[in-house]
């Protein structure tokens, strides 16, 4: 049990807490998150872009009172950018300042002191308690990077050859997200609880938009969610996610729109569709999109 974090009695209680902070999970996601907290296992979230994987980690940090540490993955990311790095300029300065006066063994020892170590996100998360470590879009990193994570995820520890092993007093809650652009190694997945985040059903999506854009006119969220639901079945290059539904509603609200019609939809479609081909296609069939 994470001592510093708030405890939840059941998946439903956790779901209510997330709901209270503006994130509406379905039963599956609430149970997966609840188990991740109880079992101190990383949560591995896969799903289409924009279904709320990153937002879940942010909301979890809010409701547990933990610090959110985010590690955005990219190709070529390595230990010195994700775990720790030595502060070389300061080490050199220290060495020059000490000059030839000190005992060489002592001096060498003092060079690899904790104060010369720069904590990158993962080490930060281990040293800060309580914390939520978000490893975002792990599929963008290359497979060599996954090996770095194994020790962290299994033992909540980072081993630094010159310094020793730094262990988290209180393991962070780890949330790993993937858009599934490549298959993540099974050794990593096996240590995690796996959850596929699906698009929410219509009623939940409307509720999410209400929660996120409470100022929007009455009925607008329903109209936008209905239009987005139709867009998702329209065979587009990039079907809009919940994030796009929220953006679109917000854009319409900022323009003072209270009812979605062809003219306002056309002007704001860019909030929901991100490919030119999709825009062109949908603009042609705009009446059908709004009708019904």
């Amino acid at each position: 049990m994470l001592e510093g974090m708030r405890e939840f009695e059941s998946p439903a209680a956790l779901g209510d807490a997330l709901d209270g902070a503006g994130y509406l999970p379905d039963r599956g996601l609430a149970t997966a998150t609840y188990l991740a907290l109880r079992m101190q296992r990383p949560l591995f979230l896969e799903g289409d872009p924009g279904v709320g994987k990153t937002a879940l980690a942010q909301t979890l940090a809010t409701i547990t009172g933990a610090e959110l540490v985010r590690l955005q993955c990219y190709e070529g990311i390595d230990a010195s950018q994700a775990l720790y790095d030595w502060d070389f300029p300061r080490q050199v300065l220290h060495l020059r300042a000490a000059g030839g006066t000190a005992d060489p063994a002592e001096l060498e020892h003092s060079l690899y002191d904790r104060r010369f170590l720069i904590a990158r996100p993962i080490l930060q998360a281990l040293e800060h308690a309580p914390s939520v470590l978000l490893i975002d879009e792990i599929d963008r990193a290359d497979d060599e990077f996954e090996a770095f994570l194994l020790e962290v995820l299994a033992d909540h520890a980072v081993t630094i050859p010159e310094l020793g092993t730094i262990r988290a007093l209180e393991p962070p809650l780890v949330v790993i997200t993937s858009n599934r652009t490549r298959e993540v190694h099974d050794a990593l997945k096996r240590r995690c609880l796996y959850h596929w985040v699906a698009h929410p059903e219509f009623a939940r999506e409307v509720a999410i938009v209400h929660r996120r854009v409470p100022e929007a006119a009455h009925g607008l969220a329903e109209q936008v969610a209905a239009a987005v639901a139709r867009l998702r079945t329209a065979n587009l290059l990039k079907p809009p996610g919940v994030a796009e539904t929220i953006d679109w509603t917000r854009a319409l609200h900022l323009l003072g729109v209270t009812k979605l019609d062809a003219e306002t939809a056309e002007a704001t479609l860019g909030a929901a569709l991100k490919y030119r081909e999709d825009l062109v296609r949908v603009q042609r069939e705009l009446a059908g999109l709004l009708g019904g």
């Binding site: 079992m39 599934r180 796996y194």
Partner: protein
């Protein structure tokens, strides 16, 4: 303690059997995951079917393909319903369901086609026919061919520069290593150490048309695919196109060619069926390609270009593929024949977006393909 729990069978025994049933259905429910599931069950209400369902799902599944299988086995195991029939149509897995082709008796090939003798003239079949092929027994000659292909491909994997670096080169200074060296020499300026980008195998994606008209060539192309996967297992992906999209990479990763090709044969549900290149290619791009599989990759599409569907859709999807991929190579088995002209509707639509058009009907022709892939 809740006395209702006394009536329940031992959860460990139940879950072990459940995990075994999942494994038999292709879900990655290994013993490590089983142990996690047993642990997870202690944290939820074991009498609440929904909580048990989710506790099992998050611990025993590893990818979206597992989810429908998990649902089916969960129903059979815990809700006492009948298990799905054990034939391949019960494993939606890597297969995308598309609407069946409209019944259409009209043949696709040219009117003067001699349908019986020349396999090239076997028209793209109209109806969606689902059939599997038994590729289990390779002859010695075929096994030699696989080995020859491995030898052919091994030194020729295309490479790309990555963002990772290695010591060496002459351009960028490797600050970390230089300073570490400098610290060792007591802070005296030392030699500057350099770093250079690492190279990695470039991703290779093979899309194989397994429709009826490709029948005579599909075997050799599958063997080629197996060889490619063996040479670079991590960076090679293989899909089959027909009336559906099927991912067979996992099957082909088995080292033994007999086993690999048998598994691939079992995984392909639309063997020698019709051709809907445009739709299958769109399915590939939607589910895999655009998300990353086709990005920076060399994509090889093996097909004769006889398209049952809308050739305009194929052209559109080829354009999309060309924008994502590093290079697009089209393998047309007819290319090697005398008097070949890319006249099939699919071929015509696709051609503007193809970087290389090569033959691939024989082992010898595959040399050229390997060469093209290596150069890409």
């Amino acid at each position: 303690m809740d006395e209702r729990l006394d009536e329940l069978p031992d959860p460990v025994v139940t879950l072990t059997g459940f995990a075994r049933a999942l494994r038999a259905n292709g879900v990655a429910a290994d013993p490590t995951r089983l142990a996690t599931a047993v642990d997870a069950l202690r944290h939820v209400d074991p009498l609440d079917a929904e909580q048990v369902y989710w506790a099992g799902r998050v611990t025993l599944c590893a990818e979206p393909d597992d989810l429908p299988r998990y649902d089916a086995v969960f129903d059979a195991w815990f809700r006492g319903r009948l298990p799905p029939p054990p034939d391949a149509s019960g494993r939606p897995a890597t297969t995308l369901r598309m609407r069946p082709l409209a019944a259409d008796a009209e043949a696709d090939g040219p009117d003067d086609a001699d349908e019986t003798d020349d396999p090239l003239r076997t028209a793209a079949s109209a109806a969606e026919v689902l059939r599997h092929r038994d590729l289990a027994a390779l002859t010695d000659a075929e096994r030699d061919e696989v080995n020859a292909l491995v030898a052919l491909l091994a030194p020729r994997v295309a490479r790309r520069r990555t963002r990772r670096t290695r010591p060496g080169g002459r351009d960028a200074v490797d600050v970390a290593r230089t300073v570490r060296r400098l610290l060792r020499s007591g802070g005296e300026p030392a030699e500057l150490l350099r770093r250079a980008p690492r190279v990695k195998p470039r991703r290779l994606v093979l899309l194989l048309d397994v429709s009826g008209s490709m029948g005579p060539y599909a075997d050799v192309l599958l063997r080629f695919a197996h060889a490619a996967v063996r040479v670079a297992p991590v960076s090679t992906e293989v899909f089959t196109l027909g009336t559906r999209l099927t991912r067979i990479t996992r099957a082909l990763r088995l080292r033994d060619p007999d086993q690999a090709l048998a598994a691939a044969g079992a995984a392909i549900p639309d063997w020698s069926g019709g051709t809907r290149l445009g739709e299958s290619l769109q399915a590939f791009l939607d589910q895999w390609g655009q998300r990353g599989t086709a990005r920076r990759a060399v994509v090889v599409l093996a097909s004769d270009g006889w398209e049952r569907g809308d050739a305009a859709l194929l052209g559109e999807q080829m354009a999309r593929l060309a924008r994502l991929a590093h290079a697009v190579v089209w393998v047309n088995p007819h290319r090697g024949k005398e008097g070949f002209a890319p006249v099939t509707t699919g071929m015509r639509a696709a051609l503007p977006h193809v970087d290389d058009l090569v033959a691939g009907h024989t082992l010898a022709a595959l040399h050229e393909l390997a060469e093209v892939i290596a150069r890409a």
